[in-house]
Amino acid sequence: MNFDFSDELKQLRDEARRFLTDRCPPAIPRRILESDEPYDRALWQSIAEMGWTGAAIPEEYGGVGLGRLAVCVIAEELGFHVAPVPFASSVYLATEALLLYGSEAQKQAYLPKLATGELIGTFALAERAGTADPRKLTATVSGGTLTTVKLAVPDGDIADFVVVAVNGGTGPWLYLVDLHGAGVAKEVVTTIDPTRSHAKLSFTAAAAEPLAGATGPESVHRLLDFAAVPMAFEQVGGAQAALEMANLYAKERYAFGRPIGSFQGIKHKLSDMYIQVELARSNAYYGAWAVHTEAAELPIAASVARISACEAGWFVTKENIQTHGGMGFTWQMDCHLYYRRAKLLALTLGGAREWKLRLIAELRNRNTEDLQAA
């Protein structure tokens, strides 16, 4: 049994933790929250210089070639530090889409610049409220151009290009669109978490280049599966930070002459928070194994990691506020940074509800005895 990260990856995680502790204390996301800056450009630059943006990109395309497990350990630390950078959009989604479905020419053109952080990519799917089911998309590409509106695209205002999901019929379901090109309008939208910028993207006969490998709606789900795993690590990181914040406060804050952490009402709450974080972490590890090995169980492992991380993120960040009492509801305390981010991340790839239905659909397609043996 070797269900853990290697020493090299643990070292990478420790380096990431040290770097972000220094460069991304809570004052950094707070500055983005309180200003019009869409993200921390200097932090993004440093992250790229350290090779994190190219972690999963093979060396032949200018990356570091550490693989997807490296992205998972970095993601956990970015989540812990509520980093205000377009890492998820550019790395888990845009880079992954090119790795999975790009032609050789597309990989040559995009991946080296994604690795250096020179290009920022993102992903657009949702067209309306409700389940973002690829099969229900109305956007289509005809004559090489796209006309549609995509809602709440993370980093849509700052990204250089976007991977757009469309109803591709028998053709490709994912296209690349240059966000600096003609026929693209970006409208910055306010979200529950302004530490990460979002935009509504309107395309009017915008030039769209197919990702030829992305055939059928399953290809969109597959991209989401690959993205859900590092996202789960990012969510677990945020939940861990909120748990530590609550734990520290429970030791330092006195009421009725004793630390509030000596009351079982608070102790048991913190134990429940710890339990949620550990279950989510264990499930995220399963996801990491599945993306690393590209296992047939990936849709199941990704769903499990995703659902568990969404539940933990919500529970822990809201109970962190509760542990802080009235102070937790103030702008000045950092509790709301974790709370906002947790719910944002729980929506970004589609809510837990739709992942639950998808999980059961996947389990019904399989022999559960085989799964138990995994």
């Binding site: 000596s262 990491a288 769903s303």
Partner: protein
């Protein structure tokens, strides 16, 4: 990152399988391990002892114990691997759990060489069956509040008092007993630990009828029961520390809650008709199923993380402390939801029901799993204090002689 055995682990697993194939029947596919299921069947004890003797002869008892205890000198991970394999076979080994899992490690850690020589080998080969005499009506979660007295008399001790929740006391040869030897000391300091011959005069054992209707536990009453001083384990007054060794082994060995899990609920949902068709086709049911699956998997992979630590020769991290509390609550939630799906026909017990009545059976034993070996509340205190480092509750029993600690109107047995 993978789920594979190392070459040495794979070889050990193959050896364990070969032994089990030759000496036991595999569980039928889909069979669910109940809580102490099969223990009451006539002849169960003889069959269990017979298997235990063959297991001992083959070197699968005390796998990870040091050789000076009489163990095999193997690793923790080998012990886990053997137990994983054994769980796939229809064998009753729970009867020996207290002797082998709790009493022997405690005696070998704290006892005399003579005690080790008298008890270890015979316990390993099922000559001696053990029970645990710790809890009392007034001392459960607060074990150190116990009142059973052991008073010095000549070259031995005389015990008076009462214990409760003693699994298997009625068929045990020996018991491990914690008793109060000094009521004037502060409560944790006034205890001592003994090995008690369960056939000694003055012991009365009464079965306790549980919610499930069966009786696996007992109350045990002591009236002037004599124990020679050679059967004391550890120094006089060190009983709490010795008992902690037992409790740590109990928690370390904590397993999943036996009973229906996700697969059984999934199977049930594929059989049961609701308003609009099969339960499995209902979106609300699917959401619940997914939540249970995620909890089951979370537990499974948390255990895998612990096994990985063992496999690397490390101690499992604190994440292992969550298993019991999550597993027992998940079981109750699955049972309640499964029975809800069965609906009006749900109360019926027995094999005629979907998934063979195991939901109904487990419903009645499941409350025990949230109590035995540390209640949910105690487990959460342990997580809060030992893992998260939160302070203890202020206590009124600290630094006070035991006889002055307040007790409520429900306390039984007068303090002396």
């Amino acid at each position: 990152m993978d789920f594979e055995d190392t070459a040495e682990e794979a070889a050990f697993r193959a050896k364990a399988r070969a032994f089990l194939d030759a000496n036991a029947e595999r569980r039928k596919p889909g069979a669910v391990e109940g809580y102490r299921r099969g223990q009451d069947v006539p002849g169960a004890m003889e069959r269990a002892k017979d298997f235990q003797r063959r297991k001992f002869a083959a070197g699968f008892v005390g796998i990870h114990w040091p050789t000076e205890w009489g163990g095999q000198g193997g690793t923790q991970i080998q012990n886990v691997i053997y137990n994983q394999e054994e769980a796939k076979y229809d064998v009753l080994t729970g009867l020996f759990g207290i002797g082998i899992g709790l009493a022997m490690p405690t005696i070998c850690t704290w006892g005399t060489l003579e005690q080790r020589e008298t008890f270890v080998a015979k316990t390993m080969r099922a000559d001696y069956v053990w029970c645990q005499l710790f809890s009392e009506p007034g001392g459960g979660s607060d074990l150190a509040a116990l009142r059973t007295r052991a008073e010095k008399a000549g070259d031995g001790w005389v015990v008076n008092g009462q214990k409760i929740w003693n699994s298997g006391a009625h068929y045990s040869d020996y018991g491990i007993l914690v008793a109060r030897t000094d009521p004037d000391a502060v409560k944790h300091a006034g205890l001592s630990f003994f090995i008690l011959d369960m056939k000694a005069p003055g012991i009365e054992i009464r079965p306790i009828r549980q919610v499930s209707g069966s009786s696996h536990f007992n109350e045990v009453f002591f009236t002037n029961v004599r124990i020679p001083d050679t059967r004391r384990v550890g120094p006089v007054g060190a009983g709490w520390k010795v008992a902690l060794t037992t409790l740590m082994n109990e928690r370390h060995g904590m397993r999943d809650a036996p009973g229906p899990d996700f697969n059984e609920l999934f199977s049930l949902a594929r059989q049961v008709e609701l308003e609009d068709g099969l339960a499995i086709d209902n979106a609300a049911v699917q959401e619940k199923l997914a939540e249970f699956y995620v909890r089951s998997q979370g537990l499974k992979f948390t255990k895998f993380r612990g096994m990985t630590a063992l496999s690397r020769g490390q101690t499992p991290g604190p994440e292992s402390s969550i298993i019991k509390v999550v597993a027992a609550n998940k079981l109750q939630d699955i049972l309640s939801y499964g029975l809800d799906l069965i609906g009006m026909a749900g109360p019926t017990m027995g094999d005629s029901m979907p998934v063979s009545g195991i939901f109904e059976e487990a419903l009645l034993y499941s409350p025990a799993l949230r109590l035995a070996g540390g209640t949910d509340e105690i487990m959460k205190n342990i997580i809060a204090e030992r893992v998260l480092g939160l302070p203890q509750d202020p206590r009124v029993d600290k630094g006070v002689p035991w006889r002055d600690v307040p007790t409520g109107p429900r306390a039984t047995g007068a303090k002396q």
